[in-house]
């Protein structure tokens, strides 16, 4: 691994009796796009806050660019661009003013920030909204503005907490495109998400988190290869028949997952298995053969779905 920007060992955060982050280890290399994948309450946001020097750990160590965030909060934050889960923009100010005041918080000169604002508006495709109050923007526009705001200081590390939650598909794709450009420019990205497609699209490497612990670590392809099969056959027999058919299907492949509405069958060749099922005259109402995803990895590791 190349130069490590972030290094955590035994990182733990407790709120009273509740352990939000439970002794995790991870490293993030320069220029890497690192993901924290897990359901709500997995400890992703808490980990992000500790990295961002806005939450104190209970135990363990963490170093960001060689510094302890608890002792050097302002110095650490000077290198970060933070996109929180909920947009905390100043809705009474204009789009340009939001970027401007944030730039000033980094001690940047008025002249520099004014020039930077135009560049960021172009990046966020918000040039036409420059003098519009933030309250008038759509959800996707606000999200892009929050990301643009985080870039005003040209951070070494951009941290994005659930960047596309609540956005429609079109807005998500625009956002992914912007983040991809940053990745190409060599910005180190740290992304939390509970969307497996987002993690697959954006992350070079990720950790799967559940109940404060890291369940697995690797690139999306590595994780899928290690914890799942090449293909997945999804069959639906109707909620009443699913239970009845499941034992028969179980004999036909090594791993099946019974979900409330469908049965997932993990195999190398989905079409071939489907033919076998039909040959047994089981006739599912619907069927779908797809490639394995991180959702399947998560299901394997925790026995639960990512979005519950």
């Amino acid at each position: 691994m190349s130069e490590s920007l972030i290094s955590a060992r035994g990182l733990t955060k407790k709120y009273g009796d509740f352990t939000a982050v439970d002794g995790i280890d991870f490293d993030v290399a320069k220029g890497e796009s690192f993901g924290l994948l897990g359901p709500n309450g997995a400890g992703k946001s808490t980990t992000m806050r500790i990295i961002a020097a806005t939450s104190r750990r209970t135990s363990g160590t963490i170093s960001i660019l060689g510094r302890d965030p608890e002792e050097h909060g302002p110095q650490v934050r000077a290198h970060l661009g933070v996109v929180p889960q909920q947009d905390n923009l100043d809705t009474e100010l204009t789009v340009a003013e939001n970027l401007y005041i944030y730039g000033r918080y980094f001690g940047l000169s008025k002249k520099f920030v004014k020039g930077k604002v135009d560049e960021l508006l172009s990046f966020a495709q918000l040039e036409e909204k420059k003098d519009v109050k933030v309250e008038a923007l759509s959800g996707g526009m606000k999200r892009r503005l929050t990301i643009a705001r985080a870039l005003v200081s040209e951070p070494d590390i951009l941290m994005l907490d659930e960047p596309t939650t609540g956005l429609d598909p079109q807005a998500r794709h625009i956002l992914w495109d912007r983040l991809f450009r940053l990745k190409e420019d060599g910005v180190t990205l740290i992304i939390t998400t509970h969307f497996m497609d987002e993690a697959e699209q954006l992350c070079d490497r990720l950790v799967v988190m559940d109940k404060g612990k890291i369940m697995a670590e690797g690139s999306p392809a590595e994780l899928i290869k290690k914890y799942s099969t090449k293909e997945v056959l999804e069959v639906r027999f109707g909620s009443d028949r699913n239970k009845e058919v499941a034992p028969i299907l179980h004999k036909m492949c090594d791993r099946i997952e019974e979900l409330p509405d469908r049965i997932l069958m993990y195999v190398e060749d989905g079409e071939k298995l489907l033919e076998e099922i039909v040959a047994k005259k089981l006739h599912p109402n619907t069927s779908l053969v797809r490639r394995s995803s991180l959702e399947d990895v998560f299901l394997r590791l925790t026995g639960r779905s990512l979005i519950e």
Binding site: T54, E92, Y105, F106, F112, R149
Partner: protein
Amino acid sequence: MNPGVSVAKIRRNGAFYVAESRIRQMSKWKGIITLVAVGNPLFYLVAIGIGIGILVTENSGTSGTGGVEYIVFIAPALLANTALLGAMDETVFPVMEGFKWRKMFYATNSTPITGPQIALGVFIAALVRVAFSVFLYWIFLIAFGVMTFQDSWFAPIVAMYGGAAFGALMMGIVAGVQKDDYFLTVLGRLVITPLFFFSGTFFPLTNMPIFLQPIGWISPLWHTTELGRYFSYGYEISGLMMLIHFAFLTAMLIAGLKIANIRFTKRLLK
């Protein structure tokens, strides 16, 4: 990181950056702020000068007000009240907004700016608003012939000092408010309004029964008003009382800022 980012510079100027952004936010309300700053003295001076003032003077002369016209007696209290209410507006609402309603302080704190710098920045911006309102009020008082420039030049400064003390205290208190359901109603109706009546505003505090006078003693409005009277028309105060008034306001100012610093830091660090 852009080479222009300097943590040492932010450490020095962070509070001013926050104040700059607060003033920008305030400027969105400049119409209402100016309207209040102009309308308030206008209505009070007309109502009290023409209405209540005449009634008081006709019934009891100037014996109850230390030999000055009622409007002259009450003017320093109005000036102090403007300062205190202005300071309250610019501390209570921004702090509620920053922590709870729009959570903007969390965005500010994700930059190198610290909690105490945010608190100080909000406070500095509040002082700018207080200075604007107080000086405008003072100009009206001079224009209406209630005060003279030569005698009262220090009165707006004293009013501002009272506003600063009260604003600091309010900021410290509000930084600890988690649920705002009743806080603002209780603050407005059970603290601010009674304070106005029990602080020697409309009549000398000594006219109150002794058991009610302690309300005035702990009221920043009373301390500010007493000083304002001294610095506007020569109302007599002993050296000791002068010291007590300034010491009380200074203690409130320091305690308020200290509490705000602690609470801002704690609340931003989850």
